[in-house]
Point group: C2
Chain length 180, copies 2
């Protein structure tokens, strides 16, 4: 028989989640969903009262590069609209994970921050002190990694808590592996 454990005693797992980069696909990225499913299936398992998931989504305003920067800085109005649109998208993303947790019966919290994802994730991990940080990973080769950069590598190196990076399964890799 399982007893409900007090929150101070649960294992707190932070999941850094982001949106799909595939155009016309405004959902959680393949690797974020993979990291979440791995956490539920392999770690939480049936012990839903023993864990609490902390979802962090970091919005990078300049993610689109120069094109995005142009549209941000052309008129103050564009900046405002884009910021608002991004926040809505970010909230949809978190809503997905919070709903899934609710269905499964595991406690969770979710929040959005703005900035450079890798820096903000490490800063939030330092602040929240989770027992484990789970980050998705596109599983790119060394050459693709240099071009695309990887948030997971940075977190593994710099976060002060234990970090596990979950690679996308080969079957879920889109035509261009840089997409996610």
């Amino acid at each position: 028989m399982e007893t409900t454990e007090p929150e101070a005693n649960v294992t707190r797992i932070m999941l850094a989640v982001n949106e799909s980069s595939i155009k016309g696909y405004p959902h959680a990225s393949i690797s974020s969903r993979g990291a979440f499913e791995w956490t539920i299936q392999k770690i939480v398992r049936s012990n839903t009262s023993g864990f609490k998931l902390l979802f962090l989504h970091v919005q990078a305003p300049h993610e689109d590069g120069f094109e995005g920067m142009d549209s941000i800085y052309a008129f103050p109005e564009d900046f405002k609209t884009m910021k608002h649109r991004d926040q809505t998208r970010g909230l949809h993303l978190l809503e997905y994970f919070v709903t899934r947790c609710h269905e499964i019966g595991v406690a969770c919290e979710a929040w959005v921050k703005e900035g450079d994802p890798k820096e903000v994730i490490c800063r939030q991990a330092k602040r929240m002190r989770p027992d484990l940080l789970v980050v998705g990973n596109r599983g790119l080769g060394p050459f693709q990694r240099v071009i695309a950069g990887t948030v997971s590598e940075f977190c593994v190196k710099h976060a002060e808590c234990p970090v596990v990076s979950i690679k996308r399964s080969p079957g879920e890799t889109p035509r261009d592996p840089v997409d996610d």
Copy 2:
């Protein structure tokens, strides 16, 4: 009420464990014990039937550097004796973890391999396909790391399964942080 799950469905966690490098201290290293305790307290928790731990100890015959190599290669008899002594020590190490698992009630398996620890751990992880590989980490700074090398960094980079590296807590660090 918890049901006993069939083994095919348990989460298999591989733990790479080694001996303390502190002279006159023939036990599990501080970071190995830390990695084990973290796994039990933060991941397995009360769900002992949901997990199986796989302990791997890799013996590096040349670990002692030139001094060790001298004593190995002086006479064939020394080599044999040392190999035997190492195996005994390795078995003591595994006995410690297997006994702890038995007390806790979590299933486990343990084995010894010989070779370069980082290479052998990744090869065994590829063969065993655990759901998670847990490795201890002395938490050395960049300068100490260059001298001491780190098995955990290699595994994080090269193992084909998810890997988490557990740093030794500052309170458990011996006078010389390179010791473990």
